[in-house]
Symmetry: C2
Subunit: 222 residues, 2 copies
């Protein structure tokens, strides 16, 4: 078979498969609303149906696919309400985490790493990697709150949001403007001006929401 293609794996195969499908999803390899056939996918991935079903259950729990009984699993097709809701949650969570953050929290280093990574990838015009780095930046902001459960929840809604990104073609316009804004937020925060950093972040999120919503509406028009 082709199992060894994904290294030795230290964890269960079901999780490995779920991670593989998750990557395919955020890379836009499937179109939203598309049905994922069990037999086709388990043949393509070289795993059995039972294992694939476990992976499906994981992804369904994360909201990346939706499961309809006796019909199959479908790539979640985000609607405008979901986008609005997710941005509302992001403002709620990120701003609070940043405003109450301990200035020398270890996650600040992660924020710096993510900003540098995004900048480097941006010069290579690798917009997919820029998006990943930006996600890591905002994940690091939430990590400031020191709540593993909140981290997991946030990672989940961010992955779902990224599914919506896959709908759009202008990856550059979608990610490029924010690498500098991220850096600005970080440096303002490092200058101990937390209040200003939060204001910047809030403005960042509002702008991002506008762009994403506009692109989404342009998408459904076609």
């Amino acid at each position: 078979m082709k199992k060894q293609a994904l290294e030795d794996r230290r964890e269960s195969l079901g999780n490995t498969v779920a991670a593989g499908i998750r990557r395919l999803l955020v890379e836009g390899a499937f179109t939203p609303g598309q049905r994922l056939s069990e037999v086709a996918l388990c043949e393509r991935l070289g795993v059995s149906r039972n294992t694939l079903r476990e992976a499906f259950r994981t992804l369904a729990h994360e909201g990346l696919v939706t499961h309809q009984p006796h019909r199959g699993v479908f790539v979640t097709s985000p609607d405008a309400a979901s986008i609005v809701e997710i941005y509302r949650l992001r403002r709620f969570i990120e701003c609070r985490a940043l405003s109450e953050a301990w200035p020398s929290h270890p996650a600040v280093r992660e924020m710096r790493v993510a900003v540098d990574e995004a900048h480097a990838r941006s010069e290579q015009q690798d917009w997919l990697a820029v998006g990943t780095a930006n996600m890591a930046f905002h994940g690091a902001i939430v990590a400031l709150a020191d709540s593993p459960r909140l981290n997991g929840f946030f990672r989940q809604i961010l992955a779902e949001l990224r599914l919506a990104f896959g709908l759009m073609s202008d990856k550059e316009w979608l990610h490029a403007p924010y690498v500098d804004m991220n850096r600005q937020v970080l440096e303002t925060f490092e200058a101990s001006d937390t209040k200003a950093a939060v204001a910047l972040l809030e403005q960042y999120l509002a702008q991002s929401e506008r762009v994403v919503l506009a692109a989404w509406e342009r998408q459904v028009a076609t």
Copy 2:
């Protein structure tokens, strides 16, 4: 076999099994840290190992059980850090939801129903049902925010907290004092004094945290 015991079921068997185990967990039928053998449970529930594994994966995602590769699934044993974290999240989420709530939101009716139910069960001294009703009350508070994703996340951490309740014997002391406090919060909110209602809720949560933590420490001492 014994499948029809749980009515006709409209959804998949895996979910039904997960719901059954979930109920057993919050009712305290298992002791935290206990290992749940696959063969023993699937024989007891009359389902196959694959189906039980799907249920396990669901519960592991919810944090009610933890899965250790090649060792099995164990009932999550909450520690003090988890209790503190969950109460921090509750204050974060519930207070915000209540403070920004639309006064005539449909979820207010759910809050009223939960308060009445808790009162009725309390007179019957059915403390397990009182706990369920109290959980429904706080779930309704979060529902004020109109965010399905937040609702799901909150339900999850509340279920995890309830796992900690299972550790303690004094169910009455754990639930009874709060049915009146819940009613007070609701009536203050209905009187359009949102600020006071939030203050009451915050005080409620702080007191509950103290009681649960104290009981938890008494528990580990034995």
